[in-house]
């Protein structure tokens, strides 16, 4: 749900010349006048910096692409990879679809929930973690699997122990 008046909706991405340069390179992949095609890749770039998409950031993207604000909102609310509110620094996204459940994905999700002590979609009090179930990630041969943005690194053949190790490692990273 997109709440435009949300107080969390601060301007949280600086549109530096470097970033604008990157945006321009993306726009150049599409024909003249079709710059709106660059919207999805540009939103990925913005989210990679701030961890989520705030309304002021989306408005700036709209202004850059010379499209209406609503054209950005309707895209940002449609696609599941875009976050419309702040997340943990590390978002653990576990595949919850059939083939992974055949090899124990539900057990892994329960384990993550109890280890982190937060429900799906909530952020731990130290701000480090949130988690959620996502649909098939096209890695079913090595289930259970989870991914962590913004690089979308994959962790496959998960066990409770390997999840513990991963969480421990990320905690030490800070």
């Amino acid at each position: 749900m997109l709440n435009i008046n949300n107080t969390e909706n601060i301007e949280n991405v600086e549109f530096t010349p470097e970033l604008i340069g990157k945006f321009n390179e993306i726009v150049s992949r599409y024909p003249e006048g079709k710059q709106k095609s660059a919207l999805l890749p540009i939103l990925h770039e913005v989210q990679a910096i701030a961890g989520w998409l705030s309304v002021p950031s989306m408005n700036k993207v709209a202004e850059f692409l010379n499209i209406e604000y609503i054209e950005v909102y309707e895209v940002a609310t449609f696609y599941t990879m875009y976050f419309l509110k702040p997340q943990g620094k590390y978002v653990l996204e576990v595949c919850r679809t059939g083939p992974c459940c055949l090899v124990g994905a539900e057990k892994i999700m329960k384990h993550i929930e109890s280890t982190l002590g937060v429900k799906e979609g909530e952020v731990t009090s130290d701000g480090l973690f949130s988690w959620r179930g996502v649909e098939c990630m096209a890695a079913c041969g090595n289930g259970p699997v989870l991914q962590i943005g913004p690089e979308y690194t994959f962790y496959e053949n998960l066990t409770e122990e390997s999840v513990n190790q991963l969480i421990g490692k990320l905690k030490n990273n800070k």
Binding site: L40, M81, Y82, E135, C140, Y152
Partner: protein, 448 residues
């Protein structure tokens, strides 16, 4: 050992680099196509090969290409569908990760045949690593004169770009994919017009799956007639199968179409049998959308003939006792798996992924999800199975895109073949919470 047309060099160290790929004979199809065949020649070979789309529908690729409209002065596009999100399918990720230049080479020869000068690879957004790998491969191909302006001095120009999705299964549907590529929500378009006439930016467009495009390379190198010799009947060539679920050796296998299903599941060359010494209960043979079959019907047709991994053999018996090859996402269920729970899980998936444009799909998937959830949680009613069949029937064929059908078939087939298990859940609400039903009751099924 099966002929490996796609994965032959997959284990060669460094095959992901241009240098090694080239040394192993890579990009010879581009040279042959551009220098000696011409666009029409490439199209003829692809037609002769009998290659059928590997994305799920199995539509003949040569025919699809020949439908492409060619109005003067209007650009044409080739768009590669690398959205790979059909549950159970993970072959395209594998191919792009380990042998990215095969896809790039296929993109060049296919674009050349279609007369496209700008082509896109639409990769699902979560595959950030594969996006990087492909961008690297494109840069290498360009640096070596196989992409860009005046390729191999022929005067043919081509740019290939990678475009990321952002997490929406529906964007695998080709018209939703084009909407998404235009920077919009992934709402499928009403057809006609088909993309071949009005696709990306309202220009004539061909959308093909990763594996389809990769397969054109060996068709050009060896000729369409050679390709057509492999396989069985109208199922020509090789196919990547993503094998998952309760198997000893899950993974991606390149098979010759026509391989017996039994050999694929049990032989050590392929999946090596069911994991943990258990018995096979059921198989979803072509990605979550296709009908589920109990073990007896996946191994043999209702007539008792061995079931083969081919478009025709898997479909034998229609939806009464057959299924589909689909995307080749092969999911094996052992005796401990609960069909009701899996059907609920798949239905939740389709409800979550419905774009919401058509009420039968939007409302029907949600309704089925709720009913299945209540059966799974010991609150089912004996009328629920007929209700589910009825809802599924009312979605099927009544929607803009095939996601509606894809949501209806798993439910209808699970109840057709495993009705006893659903009834057991309804009649044993307490017991069904603590143990699974076990193997299917084949006696009931054979008579139904």
């Amino acid at each position: 050992m099966t002929r490996q047309l796609l994965l032959e060099h997959i284990n060669v160290p460094g095959i992901n680099t241009f240098e090694v790929y080239r040394r192993m004979g890579g990009y010879s199809a581009v040279e042959k196509a551009i220098k000696t065949m011409g666009p029409e020649g490439v199209l003829e070979e692809v037609k002769t090969s009998g290659l059928r789309g590997r994305g799920g529908a199995g539509f003949p690729t040569g025919m699809k290409w020949s439908f492409l409209a060619k109005p003067e002065g209007v650009p044409r596009y080739l768009v590669c569908n690398a959205d790979e999100s059909e549950p159970g399918t993970f072959k395209d990720r594998y191919l792009m990760t380990y042998i990215p230049h095969l896809l790039i080479e296929g993109m060049i020869v296919s674009s050349f045949a279609l007369g496209a000068h700008t082509s896109y690879i639409y990769v699902r957004g979560e595959m950030m690593q594969q996006i990087r790998i492909l961008e690297q491969a494109i840069a290498e191909a360009k640096a070596n004169g196989f992409l860009g302006k005046n390729i191999l001095g022929s005067g043919y120009d081509l740019e290939v770009y990678v475009h990321p999705g952002a997490g929406a299964y529906i964007c695998g549907e080709e018209t939703a994919l084009l909407e998404s590529l235009e920077g919009k929500r992934g709402n499928p378009r009403i057809k006609p017009p088909f993309p071949a006439v009005s696709g990306l930016y309202n220009c004539p467009t061909v959308v093909n799956n990763v594996e389809t495009i990769a397969a054109t390379v060996s068709i050009i190198n060896d000729g369409g007639a050679e390709y057509a010799k492999i396989g069985i009947g109208r199922s020509t060539g090789t196919k990547l199968i993503s094998a998952g679920g309760n198997l000893n050796k899950p993974g991606v296998y390149e098979i010759e179409l026509g391989l017996p299903v039994e050999e694929f599941i049990y032989s050590d060359e392929y999946c090596g049998g069911i994991a943990n010494g258990k018995q096979l209960k059921a198989v979803v043979a072509g990605g979550s959308s296709v009908p589920i079959l109990p073990a007896n019907l996946i191994l043999k047709t209702i007539e008792g003939a061995p079931r083969l991994m081919s478009y025709e053999s898997l479909a034998e018996g229609g939806f009464v006792s057959g299924t589909m090859l689909g995307s080749g996402g092969f999911i094996a269920f052992d005796e401990d798996q609960c069909i009701v729970r899996n059907t609920w899980n798949f239905t939740r998936f389709y409800h979550h992924e419905s774009c919401g444009q058509c009420s039968p799909c939007r409302e029907g998937t949600g309704w089925m999800e709720k009913v299945l959830f209540s059966i799974e949680n010991g609150q089912g009613r004996s009328s629920d199975m007929d209700l589910l069949v009825n809802v599924a029937k009312n979605i099927e064929g009544n929607t803009i895109c095939p996601l509606g059908d894809a949501a209806a078939w798993p439910v209808a087939s699970a109840i057709r073949h495993f009705r006893d298990e659903f009834e057991w859940h309804v009649n044993n609400p307490v017991e069904s919470q603590s143990r699974n039903y076990g193997l299917a009751n084949y006696a009931i099924m054979a008579n139904s």
